[in-house]
Amino acid sequence: MRYISNALAALLLGIIAAACSTFRMEPADYSWPVESVLIVDEEGVITDTRYSFDVNVSAMFQQEEIPLPEISGREVRVIRDQKGYYFMTSQGLRNVYVFLAEEGGMNLVSKILVNSEGVNGPAFNQRSPYIEFIQGDNQSTFLTKDGIRQ
């Protein structure tokens, strides 16, 4: 009987400790006021000094069949929405790529087709809860992580 009560007490403490280590803080707003325009270096890396991150974007260009030697010096436009998703694209890409930051990298959440012939003059604006995407002659669409808002 004594052993059982000790085991229950230990179990209770374990539950309390586990509950304390997995709490959630909310709400959070990750939105950037304005997009970052970053230049891809020779190794395919973009560096954002304001938000202190760098990431290798060569996989995104490979998706569009653009090899590494051709991506160096290109501009990548990045913006983060309220929920923390990263929206990325670049001149000539057909899609806007949505990522979520994970340990040591960014995971693709969705790929939004915005121009089958490749975008011209792309730009993102923060329009919480949406991301405004502009291309061509100020042609504007609103995006979420799941796609174009109709």
């Binding site: 006021p33 304005v34 304001r50 436009r77």
Partner: protein, 408 residues
């Protein structure tokens, strides 16, 4: 209801954005470029009109982007919309101050150029006066007209020297001791600039020339005591100023590797001028004795002055003791009453003591010697009195004897 309002807002947002979609990034970049453009323009602004035009543009920029304040507050981090304009206004004020300073410098340069022209003209006029003075010395036979012409030239030359001194003071103030130059914290470039100005306006040579003219002037002319007092004061004042200024100029000009020969020469001339003025003062004092037929030894310092006078009195006292000369009340009276008290003590002594050409102790030494001389006079007078009384008694006894003999 809330959902409906949100939907409405989003719809309006979507509709308006479709019509006027514009990249926020582009907007921010345009704003940043304009701010950078005005900041650079303010660094090189050249006129008040330009400054005013930039000011108007900044006000217009502020108004134009006021609707995007929130966007800019986020995008300009760590600055924001307000601090960006605060910085621009601070730059605007700095540019205005710089512009004012530039205007002051231009005015100063104009003034300095005028001062330099005045200085050159005065130097020319000084040498003309000096030539005239030499002419008067040699050519005019009539003493009265000679004196009048002489006095007029001397006065004109003194005024000339004073004006030049004044101009040099102003030049120094303008070129070296400008209020905005803090000598202790002067940068190398500022020192180079001041050095360049000193050279461009030939400042050190002008100071040298003025000192040489002062020395020439003091040696060439004859002065009244009050003139010499003024000249001595000017000389002391200059020496004091040069002590400070010479150090300052040496410090500023130390940026140059060549030795400052001019500074050493000026130091020598300052000392030479001081010695010349002192020599003139002592010569004037000696002439007071000479004019009354008293031949004292020449003196150029306070110590020599005391030695000369006490030596003269000693020689007089000794000569009475040794004969054949006797104490002369006239000689004593001329030396003591007419020269020592009436001239030296009255017109010169306060000045000599004040300017430390003579000490109180040295004055007392001369006066003690005068007292000694007067005592010799008194002892001679006493002896004479005793002899006279003795003669009178003998005469009286002879008269009484004659009278008694006659009666008997």
């Amino acid at each position: 209801m809330n959902r409906l309002i949100k939907l409405l807002i989003v719809t309006v947002l979507l509709a308006s954005s479709t019509l006027t979609a514009q990249s926020d990034y582009k907007k921010v970049q345009t704003f940043k470029q304009k701010v950078e453009y005005y900041t650079k323009a303010l660094e090189s602004v050249r006129s008040a009109d330009e400054l005013s035009s930039i000011n108007d543009s900044i006000v217009a920029l502020r108004n134009k982007f006021s609707a995007d304040k929130k966007l800019l507050d986020g995008a300009l981090y760590p600055e924001n919309y307000n601090t960006t304009f605060d910085n621009l206004i601070a730059d605007l004020q700095n540019a205005e101050e710089k512009l004012n300073l530039k205007t002051q410098v231009v005015t100063l340069q104009t003034q300095v150029s005028k001062l330099k022209r005045d200085l050159d003209e005065l130097s020319k006029s000084y040498y003309e006066n000096l030539q005239e003075l030499t002419k008067i010395k040699g050519e005019l036979a009539d003493e009265r007209s000679k004196n009048e012409a002489w006095t007029s030239r001397i006065s004109s030359m003194r005024s000339n020297i004073n004006k030049r001194d004044d101009i040099i003071k102003k030049l120094i103030d303008s070129l070296v001791l400008k209020p905005h130059y803090n000598l202790e914290s002067m940068t190398l470039n500022e020192k180079k600039k001041v050095t360049y100005n000193i050279k461009q306006y030939n400042l050190l040579n002008n100071i040298k020339q003025l000192l040489q003219d002062n020395i020439q002037f003091i040696n060439a002319a004859i002065f009244k005591p009050e003139d010499l007092h003024k000249i001595k004061n000017e000389q002391i004042d200059f020496k004091e100023r040069w002590k400070l200024l010479g150090t300052t100029i040496a410090n500023v000009m130390s940026v140059e590797s060549s030795p400052q020969q001019n500074l050493y020469e000026i130091n020598d001339l300052v000392n030479e001028w001081s010695a010349s003025v002192d020599k003139k003062i002592w010569a004037e004092i000696k002439s007071l004795f000479n004019n009354r037929g008293i031949e004292v030894d020449t003196f150029y310092t306070g110590e020599q002055f005391v030695n000369s006078l006490t030596g003269y009195i000693d020689s007089k006292i000794n000569s009475y003791d040794e004969g054949p000369l006797e104490f002369s009340a006239d000689e004593y009276s001329v030396f003591v009453d007419s020269v020592w008290y009436a001239e030296i003590n009255l017109n010169w002594m306060p000045f000599l003591l004040e300017k430390e050409l003579l000490t109180e102790e040295q004055k007392i030494m001369v006066e003690e010697k005068i007292t000694e001389w007067s005592q010799v006079g008194e002892s001679d007078a006493n002896t004479l009195r005793i002899v006279l009384i003795f003669v009178a008694i003998i005469l009286l006894l002879v008269i009484i004897a004659l009278f008694v003999k006659k009666r008997s």
